[in-house]
């Protein structure tokens, strides 16, 4: 299990400091919610953890982010390996411009996972999650493609993301045709398929209808047994529902963090109390 540890993390876009001197450990195998008003740096913090911030012009990262003990901003660090280890769900789901099947197999293919590795990976995971009905020898499958292991992988992760039953008959249809709630679950399946250890989710339910949102939250609760999940949310009630640990940011500053129970019952800082009670938002 990775240990994510931020120390003295400061991030600036040009002259503007988005995050100031953030130091915090993110617990393993739990759901950590990053909360705070809009524009407080939540998303930037999240995108720092898989170095997606590298894609932006004029950004400067100071301080350290250690995952499994290694500073991911070390010039020697392997960004591709990091992003394989740390999966990401964006606010609005963006299916890749390809079929449902290809969306899930995209990651394993670019990471050149072979049949053996795929079977091992699924075997390992199945000890934790055995989503019902995965037979491994479905008759329909050989019809779809010759690559049996990949078929199995696609089915497994679609089941794990709670989408299989809805798409099993149209795996080769364009992912663009799915509803937005289905697209977000597809994004989850796609992220899980590269075998990450951490899942970062940036307000993953904010673009969804309430039922899809509930489905995603439900999947997170199931998945936290095996993955470390970090969710950015501006919905306090969502944080109360799913979070085990809470990090509260205000204007780029880490105000308070702690186990969810304690955090919501006994907020220490005045700003936290104001935010929880709804005085600031």
């Amino acid at each position: 299990m990775p240990h994510i540890s931020l120390s003295n993390l400061t991030i600036s876009y040009g002259e503007h400091r988005v995050l100031r001197d953030v130091t915090v450990d993110i617990p393993d195998g739990q759901i950590t919610a990053i909360i705070g008003p809009s524009g407080c740096g939540k998303t930037t913090l999240l995108k720092t953890l898989n170095r997606l911030v590298d894609l932006y012009d004029d950004i400067r990262v100071e301080g350290e982010v250690r995952i499994d003990g290694a500073n991911i901003y070390d010039p020697q660090a392997d960004v591709l390996a990091l992003r394989k280890k740390v999966g990401f769900l964006s606010q609005k789901p963006y299916p890749l411009p390809m079929s449902i099947y290809d969306n899930v197999s995209f990651g394993p293919k670019i990471h050149r996972m072979d049949g053996r590795q795929i079977l091992d990976q699924i075997g390992q995971l199945q000890k934790h999650f055995a989503p019902g009905g995965l037979s491994g020898t479905g008759e329909g499958r050989s019809r779809i493609s010759n690559d049996r292991e990949m078929d199995l992988l696609v089915e497994y992760y679609l089941r794990l993301a709670g989408l299989w039953e809805e798409v099993r008959d149209r795996l080769h249809a364009p992912a663009a045709h799915l509803s937005i709630g289905q697209q977000q679950r597809l994004a989850l399946a796609r992220a899980l398929a590269v075998e990450p250890e951490v899942i970062l989710a940036d307000e993953p339910t904010s673009a969804l209808d309430p039922i899809s949102a509930k489905l995603i939250e439900g999947q997170f609760r199931i998945l936290k047994d095996r993955y470390t999940i970090v969710v950015v949310t501006h919905i306090l009630r969502q944080a109360r529902r799913i979070a085990d640990y809470v990090i509260f940011l205000y204007l780029g500053e880490l105000v308070e963090h702690g186990p969810a129970d304690f955090f919501f019952r006994n907020p220490q800082d005045e700003r936290t109390r104001a935010y929880i009670s709804g005085e600031i938002s």
Partner: protein
């Protein structure tokens, strides 16, 4: 309140008027070309090369120009896509710094606005330097230069319009720049790529000045890349300039053939493009 309604009506009227003007001009060109050309259009015209005395109104056809134009336009299209697509993708900020990208865009815009006779003259100078004569090869090379800025800039605009989050999705899965470009950007931009290539094709197949000196003109079909080659725009030009009415009519028939080729290529590639763009994310 009244003012706003008047404004709305006036602007709407203006739009409809402009649209009508464009459609009317297009219809006018088509009507003239069809009216004057259709009577000379025959199988011989399409399948035969000029016989002796063709330009005085005797037998034969312009197969030499049809084949020539198709070879020139497709050859140049292919060549220019091979260079233009990589440039269009390279202008993304993952690859090129913003300054270099701006300079490249500006140069392409200037090239786009350069009259095609300048391309022809440039092609001619280079040709002479290398001791080449007017040929299919020289024509294709010159024409592809003419097509390059049109194709590259229009494709690049499409690539630039792509949502950044779509690319981020691919990067977040651990994909490299090249994997993201080939698997995501390319597929998403495909309809725009088809349009860009078509724009360049249409401009290229109709262009006269750039191939006047470089491809030459001949009554024969080319047998190698180094043979001179005829083309439809020049066939129109030469025939319309004669005092003989039959030959002038043939000029319109040649123009009609040119229009039909552009129409067929345009419809065909859009159809193919649509087949491959059903995965595009809206």
């Amino acid at each position: 309140m009244r003012r706003r309604k008047v404004e709305e009506t006036v602007l709407k009227g203006l739009m409809i008027a402009s649209l009508g003007l464009v459609l009317a001009s297009l219809a006018g060109i088509l009507l003239v070309v069809i009216h004057r050309g259709i009577s000379s259009l025959s199988l011989a015209m399409i399948f035969m090369v000029p016989e002796g005395g063709y330009y005085l109104g005797q037998g034969g056809g312009i197969a030499n120009a049809i084949v020539g134009s198709i070879l020139l336009a497709f050859g140049a299209c292919l060549l220019s896509s091979l260079v233009g697509l990589p440039i269009a993708f390279a202008l993304q900020r993952e690859y090129l710094g913003p300054r270099l990208a701006r300079i490249t865009r500006l140069s392409l815009d200037i090239l786009w606005g350069t009259p095609s006779i300048v391309y022809g003259a440039f092609g001619f100078v280079v040709m002479v330097y290398f001791g080449l004569t007017a040929s299919l090869l020289a024509g294709v090379l010159t024409l592809s230069l003419l097509m390059l800025p049109i194709m590259t800039r229009s494709i690049e605009e499409i690539v630039r319009m792509m949502p950044q989050e779509l690319k981020e999705t691919s990067y977040a899965l651990g994909a490299t720049r090249i994997e993201t470009t080939l698997a995501v950007t390319y597929r998403q931009a495909l309809p725009g790529i088809v349009t860009g290539v078509l724009l360049a094709f249409g401009r290229g197949i109709g262009d006269t000045a750039s191939i006047l000196f470089t491809a030459g003109y001949t009554d024969y079909l080319p047998r190698s890349l180094l043979d001179p080659v005829a083309s439809l725009p020049l066939a129109v030009f030469f025939q319309i300039a004669t005092p003989i009415p039959e030959v002038q009519q043939r000029a319109y028939a040649a123009a009609l053939i040119l229009l039909v080729i552009v129409l067929v290529v345009s419809l065909g590639s859009r159809l193919i493009g649509r087949r491959y763009s059903r995965n595009v994310i809206k």
